[in-house]
Symmetry: C2
Subunit: 343 residues, 2 copies
C-alpha cells in the first residue's frame, strides 16, 4: 500500500476478502467492504444477517465486524426514502475519521461497482487509486497450505473427469453427464467450483450443458475444476463418441498431434527464474493457432472465476516465475491440457 | 431510455444481456458490453473466442457481434504495452461516432466495474446516468414463456428438496447431501443455479456445505433453487435430524408456528393492484423478528444472484403488483417458505 501511495484500501472482491480474513459465505451478491487503513486495524462492513457467517468463518474479532442493517437492502425503485449500503459505509468512514484518506479501490474487479467509485469521489471528494492488483500479487505465490488445497482440488478434478469420460456415450443427455460430474466431485470432498461444468459440443466456448442427447460422432469438450476451500484445479479433456479406429478419431489424432507437442514444450519450459511469456514463446514455436496465451493463473476464486488476476503465459508478460505459482496451461478449442506448476 | 434521457445504454449485466439477446455463456468473467444506442441497432462487444457462443445462443446478426481480440486479455502487471478491452470499446465508440452520447451505465450492478465508468468519464468526457434499473423493470413482469420456465424450475427444485430431505440423516456428510441435491436437479433437466446449494447448520447464512458429518440433533436449513434457462425458483426448508416426538422437534414446532402463520398471511395478501410493501405490513403484524422484508424478486439470473433487482415485499416498496411478477417469500433464519406468484 505504501509503495502505491494508498492510505486506505477498500477491498470488495470476495476472493480478496476471503484471502485476507477467511470470510467464506456466498453473500457477495450484496455490497460488502473490507476497510483496510494503512495505520489502523482493518474492519469488515457486511450485511447484518451475514454477521454470524463473519464470526464463524473469519479470524476477525467482534468489534472488527460492522454490519449494516436490513433497512439498507434492495431499495431500487418506488421507495420514498431509499437507502443504500454505501450510505452506511460513507457515514462510518466519516465517523471513524477515515474520510480524508487516499483510497485504493479494485477498480477493474467485478465486485467493485461503478456506483462505489462515484459515491466516494463525489460525496467524499477523495483521491482514488487503482488497487486491483494489491491483494492478488500476494497470492500469486502460494503457501504450502495453499498448495495442499490445490493438490486436493487436483485429486477431486481427476475423479470428476474420470466420471465424465465414463458417462459420455451415445444416447445420454448432457444433463446426465453434468449430474455425474457434479455428484462425483462434491461427494469426494469438493466445494462448488466457480464455473459450472462446461460441456462444449461445438466451437462455442464457456457453454454449460443443455438437454441435448449426445450421439455417435459427437465431440464433447469437458472443462471442469476441482475446488477445495475455494482453491481450484481446472482440467480440460475432449471426449469423442466413436470407435477407436474410426476415421473421426484418426483425424482428431492428426489434428492434436502438434498441440500435444506444444503443450509438452510449455510444461518443459516452465521453471523458476524465467519470464512468464517465455513459456508461450517456446510453445508457440510449435503450435500457435488461436492465441499466444498458453496458460492462465488458476487458484483461489469465487464466482464468476477460478482464474486469478495475476500473471499469464502469454506474450508480453514479464512476470518472473517463482516456485509455488500455479497455472493452468490450456490450448485451442479442441484439445486443451492441464498441468499444475507447484514446484 | 428516452424517459431517463439516456442516448446510449452500455449494458454489462450478463443477466440483462441475456434478457435482451439470449446470450448464454459463462464468459462474463471477462469484460462484455452490449451497446444499445437509442437511434441505431444494438451490438455486442465480447471476447473473440466467445464469438461462436454469441452466434449460437443469440438472435444477433453477424455484423452485430464486434469482438475484441485475444491480445486484450488479462494484461495485469509487468506488461510493457498493456491493453484492456475498454480501450477497444472506446476506439469502437469513437469510430462509430457514438462517443458523444449521453451514456447510461448499470452503475449499481456487480458487472459494471468502476474502471468502465472512470474510463468513459475521463477519456470520453461524457455524461453518465444510472441505468441499473433500465432492463430489470422490463422483466419484473414475466411473459407466459418466462412463467413456463419458472414453473419448470419449480418442478426441478421440488425434486431437489425431496432428495435433500431423504439424504439428510445421522452419519452422512454435508458433501454427500449436496452431491445428491445437485445430481437430482441437474439430471432432471436443471441448469446450474446461480448459488450453490446452501446447507446451514448454525445461524450463519449463505454458507455452503462443508465436510462435517450431520449428527442426531442437527438442524439443517436447506436453501436451493431449480434453474431452467437461467430462470430460478428458490425453496427453503429446515430438516431436523431427530425423532418426530423428541423435545427438539416439539420446541421447533412451537417456534415456527407464528412464522408459518405470518407466511400464510403473506401469501393470502399477495394480489394484483396492491403495493409490494403491503404484503410485508400484513405478515409482520403476525411475526416480525429479523427484517421487515418477507419476499424478494426471484427469477432470471447469472451468478452471483438468482434474485432480480426489482421490487421486494418490504416496508417502503410502493411498486404496484401485477400478474406475472415472481417473488420468493422467505422469513427468518430457521424456517423459510417458498411461493411462486404467477397468476
Amino acid at each position: 500500500m505504501e509503495e502505491q501511495e494508498i492510505e486506505l484500501a477498500l477491498v470488495t472482491s470476495p476472493t480478496n476478502i476471503y484471502y485476507l480474513t477467511g470470510y467464506n459465505a456466498f453473500s457477495f451478491y450484496v455490497p460488502q467492504f473490507l476497510v483496510v487503513p494503512l495505520d489502523r486495524e482493518l474492519f469488515l462492513v457486511n450485511r447484518s444477517i451475514d454477521r454470524p457467517s463473519a464470526r464463524e468463518t473469519t479470524w476477525l474479532e467482534e468489534e472488527m465486524i460492522k454490519p449494516y442493517g436490513e433497512e439498507y437492502i434492495d431499495h431500487y425503485v418506488n421507495y420514498p426514502d431509499p437507502k443504500h449500503p454505501v450510505d452506511f459505509l460513507l457515514d462510518l468512514l466519516r465517523s471513524e475519521g477515515l474520510d480524508d484518506r487516499r483510497f485504493g479501490l479494485e477498480l477493474d474487479d467485478y465486485y467493485c461497482r461503478a456506483f462505489y467509485y462515484r459515491s466516494l469521489v463525489e460525496e467524499l471528494g477523495v483521491e482514488v487509486k487503482d488497487a486491483t492488483q494489491l491483494v492478488p500479487r500476494v497470492y500469486l505465490k502460494k503457501s504450502e497450505r495453499e498448495i495442499d488445497y490445490m493438490k486436493e482440488a487436483s485429486r477431486i478434478v481427476e475423479k470428476g473427469m474420470k466420471s465424465a469420460i465414463e458417462a459420455i456415450e451415445d444416447g445420454v443427455t448432457e444433463n446426465e453427464v453434468a449430474a455425474e460430474i457434479l455428484h462425483t466431485m462434491v461427494k469426494n470432498g469438493g466445494s462448488m467450483p466457480s464455473f459450472p461444468p462446461m460441456l462444449q459440443t461445438t466451437a462455442a466456448c464457456h457453454i454449460t450443458w443443455t438437454d441435448s442427447v449426445i450421439r455417435e460422432g459427437t465431440s464433447v469438450s469437458v472443462e471442469i475444476a476441482g475446488c477445495k476451500e475455494r482453491y481450484h484445479s481446472p482440467m480440460c479433456r475432449t471426449v469423442i463418441v466413436a470407435d477407436e479406429d474410426s476415421s473421426l478419431v484418426r483425424e482428431a489424432r492428426d489434428v492434436i498431434g502438434k498441440q500435444i507437442e506444444a503443450h509438452k514444450k510449455a510444461l518443459e519450459t516452465v521453471k523458476p527464474g524465467i519470464m512468464a511469456e517465455e513459456v508461450a514463446i517456446e510453445a508457440n514455436k510449435i503450435f500457435d493457432e488461436r492465441s499466444s496465451r498458453v496458460g492462465y493463473p488458476a487458484g483461489i476464486g469465487f464466482p464468476p472465476d477460478w482464474g486469478e488476476r495475476t500473471a499469464s503465459f502469454q506474450l508480453g508478460d514479464k512476470t518472473v516465475l517463482e516456485p509455488n505459482m500455479t497455472f493452468h496451461t490450456i490450448s485451442t478449442l479442441t484439445e486443451p491440457f492441464m498441468m499444475e506448476f507447484s514446484e
